[in-house]
């Protein structure tokens, strides 16, 4: 196994054993092969640097590369955005460890040699984020290689296999050239993704959100600190921001928009489809720490005289978020709020039982201007999962869910 630290700064010789230059950079070309060291940059002081292709490398050892061609056959170096430089883009930079779900800093890069008809290819196997890499970086060139090796074998290793390394590249054009996708991030739990984003800088956060699909982006943003969410959404293009906000619950979307500058919130709202924009606008009218500001306009309500079977088959037909459905609200003939039924109750009810017979006692609802403290007290006192919010005419306009309460209590 070879380390980037051993090679960078080493010497390169041509076929005849003449010194060509110093190894100043190792490039991977992800568009071609994701882990092969495709080019070696050879610096020659005041002369133009040269580049050696992977198939002209005949021998590699710590600090030395021998080529199988002559110096005059080497190309001059032209910067290429599609090349991933180990020194510039990897060493000392932050990467996302997608298996450990963490942001880490690269101390060293480990490579394996592969012999293919007379040439030696270097393959990146893993990145070193632990003490071994740090010790090697610190002592390289100061202590003798044997001492360094002896010391590093005693230290605990922390490495991340190359396939779990997710690079963070803020420039979208370069990201395409480097073939960086965020598919691995999309498979993560939104809460983990949010934790990772909190560790990054604003530019990096934006770039990740911009390249995720809207649904994942919305889920991850919903888990983030509210101020951060607002900051990120504000920097997105209004169209993209609207797409992401549509995927969020209206109350969360309203919270995000409420924190934005008036002109950008207007822009984003105008990009959202009419229905959703209207819902969000309705929610924006309420004070943030009132029941109206906490409630969600997405809730399920049915007529109180409906039977269990009717309700169940109706819910099955609709696109309802089943993970979060725990209460069905009831309205009477005047469309006024008349009760709430826990979904668990439906399991035990007979097919023709009427909903009004399964109501929770007592009948509880709050007006939209009730303070958050009142809401917390009611949730605590009656051990609720959901609480209806009703307008002056007794009509249900939204519901507060227990997860909103938990979030707010934690942020107090």
């Amino acid at each position: 196994m070879l380390h980037a630290t051993d090679l960078l700064g080493g010497e390169a010789y041509d076929r005849d054993g003449h010194f060509v230059g110093q190894i100043t950079e190792l490039f991977v070309e992800p568009a071609d092969q994701t882990n092969r060291v495709a080019r070696v940059l050879l610096g020659r002081g005041k002369y133009l640097p040269l580049v050696a292709r992977y198939d002209s490398v005949a021998f590699v050892a710590p600090g030395v590369i021998r080529l199988n061609i002559e110096e005059k056959d080497l190309e001059h170096y032209q910067p290429n955005e599609g090349w991933l430089g180990m020194r510039k883009d990897l060493l000392d930079q932050q990467i996302i460890d997608t298996s450990g779900r963490k942001v880490v800093r690269v101390n060293d890069i480990d490579m394996a040699e592969q012999r293919i008809n007379g040439t030696v290819e270097l393959r990146v196997t893993q990145v070193d984020v632990g003490l071994t890499g740090a010790a090697r970086r610190l002592l390289h060139g100061v202590a003798s290689p044997g001492v360094v090796r002896g010391l590093t074998t005693k230290l605990p290793t922390r490495v991340i296999p190359w396939e779990f390394v997710n690079l963070i590249e803020p420039d979208p054009l370069r990201r395409v050239k480097l073939r960086i996708t965020h598919q691995k991030l999309e498979r993560m739990h939104p809460a983990d993704l949010a934790d990772i984003m909190e560790e990054l800088s604003p530019l990096e956060r934006q770039s990740i959100i911009a390249s995720l699909d809207e649904e994942t982006a919305a889920e991850a943003l919903a888990e983030l600190d509210k101020r951060l969410t607002t900051q990120i959404v504000e920097t997105l293009a209004p169209q993209k921001a609207a797409d992401i906000l549509e995927e969020m619950d209206p109350d969360q979307a309203a919270d995000v928009i409420a924190g934005m500058r008036p002109e950008s919130s207007r822009e984003v709202l105008s990009e959202m489809p009419g229905d959703e924009a209207r819902e969000v606008r309705e929610l924006l009218k309420f004070e943030e720490n009132s029941a109206g500001g906490m409630m969600n306009t997405d809730f399920v309500y049915v007529g109180e005289s409906a039977t269990r079977d009717e309700v169940v088959s109706w819910i099955r037909e609709k696109d309802v978020d089943l993970e979060r459905l725990d209460t069905v609200f009831l309205i009477n003939g005047d469309a006024k709020f008349s009760g709430a039924v826990a979904v668990g109750r439906l399991l035990y009810a007979a097919p023709y039982d009427r909903m009004e017979g399964m109501k929770m006692e007592p009948l509880i609802a709050v007006p939209p201007d009730a303070s958050d403290r009142e809401v917390f007290e009611i949730f605590d006192k009656y051990n609720l999962h959901s609480l209806a919010v009703v307008d002056g005419n007794g009509r249900p306009i939204g519901a507060i869910e227990v997860d909103d309460v938990v979030t707010r209590l934690r942020n107090r």
């Binding site: 990054l200 900051q231 819902e279 809730f299 049915v302 007529g303 003939g333 609802a365 009611i378 007794g394």
Partner: protein, 462 residues
């Protein structure tokens, strides 16, 4: 999924009375007041929003600048006042500018890049420079932490509390405060500590100084060309501009997630911090200048001694407040310094850091933090500990460390790929380089003198 499902579309009148919708958990007399208050809230919303925008950002700048006035700093300021009266007050204005110029650059880097200073140095200058920078930081900060606990011991001794009781208690308090608190709570306590510096204002008023004279000496520079005077001047600057504060300040803005859009508020925070820090220094110098200097008590060794000497001259309360201010400053700095140091080390080396992690997730961070407090407190309690040597070492380390950090900062802030449109303008660069060179030169002089004549340097006697 907002859907109105009415499986049965019936329209029969309902006679049941409207349900009792509100569960009144609050006494009735509250309601009118609530309405009045929310009315008032609505009317003042835009004004509150502006204040909130500022307050949301306030913190890092104010806290950092005030921690500058730590135990070591207060010793130097009181010595300056006792030795030369008001004659050094003029240096506060250039010092405010130097403090503001350097801190503003860090604030700008923090809000624009969203990365800490050690992060940036690591990413742009590589592993080895970062390592040695961090090592120097650890040594210097360790010395400073000792000085803070020495300050705790000195101030509590005035209240007749043995240092064998006060120092362990202080260490425990500081340790628990940071480990048990969230960032928001800790910051609030720190801001409160900033307010407690006002003790020095009261103390100075009790000393009945000649305000007009003090004001004149603040505006009109008086230069004496004797070695002691110049040395004192250097020490003043050396203790005010310390490298660790740049790391702490920048990390503070990053941790608060202040964005580039809020940069004007962040700059206000830094300005407010630098000015308020210097105002406190002004009052400390005036306080000792009006009493110790006037009555001929020119030589004091530390701030504790200054507090003691104040009692017969300006009354019991002036002395008590002076000592209280010292205790507050020492505790304040003793909690921030180890925290900041542990952060810088872990960030730069890529270890997990931050008080939001559990011990097992960030063992190195917690070990460093705990270790610094424990060692700092222990050195004060060991009777024969070489405290003076440690303080000298820390002073020298500071002088070596500062130029490197300042130069890294100036290189980073001029990088367009990092800072975009927020790089230094030409004028800013001139001001920043002049400040940096002046600060570096003065600090190196201090280092030179410290090595040659360790006993003659202000602020190293504990």
């Amino acid at each position: 999924m907002a859907v109105l499902g009415k499986p049965e579309q019936e329209k029969r009148p309902v006679e049941t009375p409207a349900p009792e919708l509100r569960w009144n958990l609050i006494p009735s007399w509250v309601e009118p007041w609530r309405v009045r208050l929310s009315d008032w809230g609505r009317r003042t919303r835009s004004w509150r929003r502006r204040l909130f925008l500022f307050l949301a950002v306030v913190g890092p700048g104010v806290i950092t600048s005030n921690v500058d006035n730590d135990a070591g700093g207060i010793s130097v300021y009181s010595q300056a006042g006792a030795m030369y009266g008001y004659a050094l007050l003029w240096s506060l204005i250039p010092m405010t500018i130097a403090l503001y110029v350097t801190e503003e650059m860090c604030a700008r880097m923090g809000v624009v890049t969203g990365k800490g200073l050690s992060d940036l140095i690591r990413e742009e200058f590589g592993f080895r420079p970062t390592f040695f920078l961090i090592l120097a930081g650890l040594i210097v900060d360790m010395g400073n932490v000792c000085a803070e606990f020495a300050g705790v011991a000195a101030s509590t001794q005035l209240f007749h509390i043995s240092k064998y009781i006060s120092v362990p208690l202080a260490a425990l308090f500081v340790w628990v405060l940071v480990l048990r608190g969230t960032y928001k709570q800790v910051e609030k306590i720190f801001l409160l500590a900033c307010v407690l510096y006002l003790a020095y204002v009261v103390s100075a008023i009790l000393a009945k100084p000649e305000w007009l004279l003090a004001a004149r000496d603040t505006v009109i520079p008086t230069l004496h060309l004797d070695g002691g005077y110049l040395l004192m001047l250097t020490a003043l600057i050396g203790t005010t501009i310390a490298p660790w504060q740049f790391f702490y300040l920048q990390a503070g803005f990053v941790e608060k997630r202040v964005s580039a859009r809020q940069y004007p508020q962040a700059r206000m925070d830094v300005l407010f911090g630098s000015v308020s820090c210097m105002v406190i220094v002004f009052f400390i110098i005036v306080c000792t200048g009006a009493t110790l200097f006037v009555s001929g008590h020119h030589v004091i060794n530390d701030a504790g001694e200054a507090a003691q000497a104040l009692v017969p001259l300006a009354g019991k309360w002036a002395g008590i407040l002076f000592a209280f201010g010292l205790l507050n400053a020492s505790l304040f700095a003793a909690s921030i310094l180890p925290l900041s140091t542990a952060h810088v080390i872990c960030e730069g080396m890529g270890f997990e850091a931050g008080i939001d992690h559990k011990f097992n997730d960030a063992p190195i961070f917690y070990s460093l933090y705990t270790g610094m407090i424990a060692v700092g407190a222990a050195i004060i309690l060991i009777p024969s500990a070489p405290l003076e040597k440690i303080l000298i070492l820390s002073q020298v380390g500071n002088g070596v460390w500062l130029p490197v950090v300042l130069i890294f900062m100036l290189l980073l802030i001029n990088r367009r790929d990092l800072m975009g449109d927020y790089i230094n303008t030409k004028t800013m660069n001139v001001v920043a380089w002049v400040t940096a060179v002046a600060v570096i030169a003065l600090t190196l002089v201090l280092v030179y003198v410290t090595i040659l004549h360790p006993s003659g340097v202000p602020g190293t006697a504990g």
